[in-house]
């Protein structure tokens, strides 16, 4: 049973560019959350998607946007990249109402902005 799959694993972008990160949730999971983890820090919640809609959002600017597809997979888009966007981006999936079930995390996408 495949867990959460993220692509690409590593990415280097230039300041000002746009990037799209992808996530396939674990089989049976329909809720996808995205987190940003800066070096030496804990993951920070970006947003969560359920039924193709954004349910909750953390303290991230509008440059960060997302999408969820009918097959529950998800994309994270970041526009006008800043050097400070360099981080490990983690995708987590769960059944609806993850509080009772916990979250399964992917291995992440390492984004470097130069």
């Amino acid at each position: 049973d495949a867990g959460v799959t993220q692509s690409p694993t590593h990415l280097i972008k230039t300041r000002g560019q746009q990037v799209t990160l992808r996530c396939s949730p674990k089989s049976g999971h329909d809720t996808v959350s995205w987190y940003q983890q800066a070096l030496g820090q804990g993951p920070q919640f970006i947003f969560q998607y359920y039924e193709e809609e954004e349910r909750q959002r953390g303290n991230f600017p509008d440059r960060f946007s997302g999408h969820q597809f009918p097959n529950y997979s998800s994309e994270l888009n970041v526009n006008a990249l800043l050097l400070g966007d360099s981080a490990l981006y983690l995708c987590a999936s769960s059944p609806f109402y993850g509080l009772n079930y916990g979250y399964t995390f992917g291995s992440g996408t390492r984004l470097t902005v130069v």
Binding site: Q56, L99, G108
Partner: protein, 112 residues
């Protein structure tokens, strides 16, 4: 907003020794999760605690939740090199709120 403070920030332990990592919340805990992370990799789910006084064990790792103190502890018995990594606690700030807040992590190093 909820904050989770982990202590210690880093820990160096001789193989075979026991150790404890603590996670203290600034607000009431509605579920406490422990994850392990190898450097630069994804998070591996260890345990989930939901009720005050709850204690769970998996292999040589035991986690407890003290609801009154808004605190959880993770205890490793007879540490092994495979236990090395970063341990993260995560919690929900409100019942029904799906936003998971994490501590900054405890880096565990096991030496021979």
């Amino acid at each position: 907003s909820q904050e989770l403070e982990q202590s210690p920030q880093s820990l160096i332990v001789q193989e075979g020794k026991n150790l404890t990592i603590n996670c203290t919340s600034s607000k009431t805990l509605y579920g406490l999760y422990w994850y392990k992370q190898k450097y630069g990799e994804g998070l591996i789910f260890l345990m989930m605690l939901q009720k005050g006084g709850e204690e769970k064990s998996h292999e040589k790792i035991t986690a407890k939740l003290d609801e009154k103190k808004q605190q959880s502890s993770l205890h490793i018995t007879a540490s092994q090199p495979s236990h090395a990594g970063i341990y993260l606690c995560g919690a929900f700030s409100n019942f029904g709120n799906e936003k998971l807040t994490f501590g900054t992590g405890t880096r565990l190093t096991i030496i021979p």
